[in-house]
């Protein structure tokens, strides 16, 4: 069971603003989802290393070589606000 307070706490960790109604709904829905997932806890996993990458892939390094890429201007084109090649954000107090 996840309470509304818990959803609000996690939402802040995730930097996500939620309306009161969204918080209420999510608490109910996530409680039901996690309730249905409860049986996972019954699987015996003592000493089992968690699996992260599913194939036996050997990660490799690229050669450390400079390459030409798009210009800084192109890279900045999607900025919501920019000054020259700097991202601009509104003033924040904290």
């Amino acid at each position: 069971m996840i309470s509304e307070d818990e959803v609000a706490r996690v939402a802040h960790l995730a930097r996500l603003s939620l309306s009161a109604e969204e918080t209420k709904k999510l608490a109910a829905q996530l409680s039901s989802v996690l309730g249905a997932f409860e049986h996972v806890s019954k699987v015996k996993t003592d000493g089992v290393e968690p699996l992260v990458t599913p194939t036996d892939i050997k990660p490799f390094w690229r050669e450390d070589k400079a390459e030409n890429w798009e210009s800084a201007e192109t890279a900045m084109k999607n900025a919501p606000e920019a000054v020259g090649n700097l991202f601009k954000v509104p003033p924040v107090v904290g």
């Binding site: 802040h12 930097r15 996530l30 996972v40 999607n78 904290g94």
Partner: protein, 490 residues
């Protein structure tokens, strides 16, 4: 030759032989898009340069140049893949205005092989969904029956190909997002082995599960596209150095000596009658081609959906942290009410930019990773994931292929499951395991329900053994010889 219903192979042959020009073919698909996209909503953004690309291919052909195996054939690209200079939204408001400065490796390779990019197809927001109903750009409809979903998350790609609005499409599959919509729309869809296809330039959802792959009219078409997009990429360190076989040239329709495992947990009582009958017809087809069937048990099957949702939401909560309103994408309006602190700046931007399902998954993933819950959820899921992979590896000691349904029933009606997240998640019961354990999977058309909705059958093979999928898939395709067309093509 009906361009709209031809295979990619037929079209590229015709273009290469100059029976048809790439421009003619592209214009034909554009005409169908103009006619049907307003109703089906398969595309979010059309590529205005498609005809220029087609002209360039025709010009190169006229000069006798080798234009590549996908010569001049128009394809659709799921809007999860970055396309240089062409808006890429992931069907999210938070990326509604994002124009990538570079293309995904998959897109570069397709274009390098001669394909024409018709445009970007609709999907569930950030590929999170099984129906394409969570798109911020409106839902897509199933060309076989427009009251039904085309599946998801690659529903726009499926609807585009099924509706004659592209010769083939690229989808991405994190838990079934290629195979399920392919099944719902009577197409072939392949999720490659994890590491076959570069994830560079693909909007990240769950990095240990995501793979891009083809959605096509024929098995051979899927093999052709795979040959073009697979292989190591210096820009994705999880791509494999494994050689990319010429799958399309090696398709072997004799299945003598092949053992096909039927996982008994996949044929439970919840399987619909029509789906069961269609899968049984496909099983008969592979048997007639010489394959032997064996019953297999995968006892952890019931854990696949829970561990999938714990893993994918955890990875998503981390991957989606990049949408902060600073460098690209949507930013909330702070001109009237300034943010009091940096947290509020992020919270408001993200609260406005993400839709309901994405928020739900970010919260679930953040919860599963948070202090005090990590061991019980994320770590536990990873441990069970390893046990699940071992069960599959053991199964593949007894057989080369597994066959199962793609879903318990055909496409569902628009609106039927969208308000019940758990019902929507359980839809993924047969598809999520392939992503969790990294093996390749294919959905092949197997027939229709009494209501005329397509039904797919799923084939699974061991890591890097895609050839088995193409062989058995071709047998099913040839034996069942489905000729029906959706009404939008009649």
């Amino acid at each position: 030759m009906n361009v709209l219903t031809s295979s990619l192979r037929q079209l590229s042959d015709a273009i290469r032989k100059k029976d048809l020009s790439s421009v003619e073919v592209t214009e034909r698909f554009m005409g169908q898009i103009e006619k049907w996209n307003p109703k089906i909503n398969a595309y979010i953004t059309l590529n205005e340069k498609a005809l220029d690309q087609a002209k360039a291919v025709d010009a190169r052909l006229a000069k006798g140049e080798n234009v590549g195996p996908l010569a001049g054939v128009p394809v659709a690209i799921k809007d999860m893949l970055c396309t240089k200079g062409l808006r890429t939204t992931a069907a999210s408001k938070i990326l509604h205005n994002f124009v990538p400065p570079y293309s995904a490796t998959v897109v570069e390779r397709l274009e390098g092989a001669g394909a024409i990019n018709l445009g970007k197809t609709n999907l569930d927001e950030f590929a999170m969904g099984s129906s394409t109903e969570t798109s911020a750009f409106g839902l897509s409809r199933n060309p076989w029956n427009i009251d039904y979903v085309p599946g998801g998350s690659s529903g726009g790609s499926a609807a585009a190909v099924a509706g004659g609005m592209a010769a083939a499409a690229i989808g991405t599959d994190t838990g079934g997002s290629i195979r399920q919509p392919a099944g719902f729309c009577s197409l072939v869809g392949v999720k490659p082995t994890y590491g076959r296809v570069s994830r560079y330039g693909i909007v990240a959802f769950a990095s240990s599960l995501d793979q891009a792959g083809p959605m096509t009219r024929t098995v051979e078409d899927s093999a052709l596209i795979m040959e073009s997009i697979c292989g190591r990429d210096p820009r994705d360190s999880t791509t494999s150095a494994e050689a990319v076989p010429a799958w399309s040239k090696q398709i072997n329709k004799s299945l003598k000596g092949i053992k096909v495992g039927l996982p008994k947990e996949y044929f439970s009582s919840q399987l619909g009658t029509d789906t069961r009958a269609a899968v049984e017809r496909a099983i008969e087809a592979v048997k007639r081609a010489g394959a032997e069937t064996v019953e297999i048990s995968l006892p952890l099957t019931e854990m696949a959906v829970p561990i999938y949702y714990l893993v994918c939401t955890s990875e998503a909560s981390s991957n989606l942290a990049r949408y902060d309103g600073v460098r690209f994408g949507h930013r909330a309006d702070f001109s009237k009410k300034p943010a009091e602190d940096l947290a509020e700046f992020y919270c408001r931007t993200r609260g406005e930019g993400f839709g309901t399902e994405v928020k739900r998954r970010i919260i679930l993933g953040t919860y599963a990773l948070s202090s005090g819950y990590y061991d019980a959820y994320y770590k536990k899921a990873g441990q069970v994931r390893r046990l699940l992979r071992q069960q599959f590896l053991d199964a593949f000691k007894q057989c080369q292929l597994l066959m199962s349904p793609v879903t318990t029933s055909p496409a569902f009606k628009i609106g039927d499951r969208i308000s019940d997240p758990l019902a929507m998640y359980l839809n993924d019961i047969y598809t999520t395991s392939a992503n969790l354990v990294g093996i390749p999977g294919m959905s092949v058309p197997a027939g229709f329900s009494k209501d005329g909705l397509p039904i797919g059958v799923q084939l699974l093979a061991s890591h890097f053994q895609e050839q088995h999928l193409f062989n058995a898939g071709s047998v099913i395709e040839e034996t069942l010889a489905l000729k029906e067309l959706p009404h939008v093509l009649q």
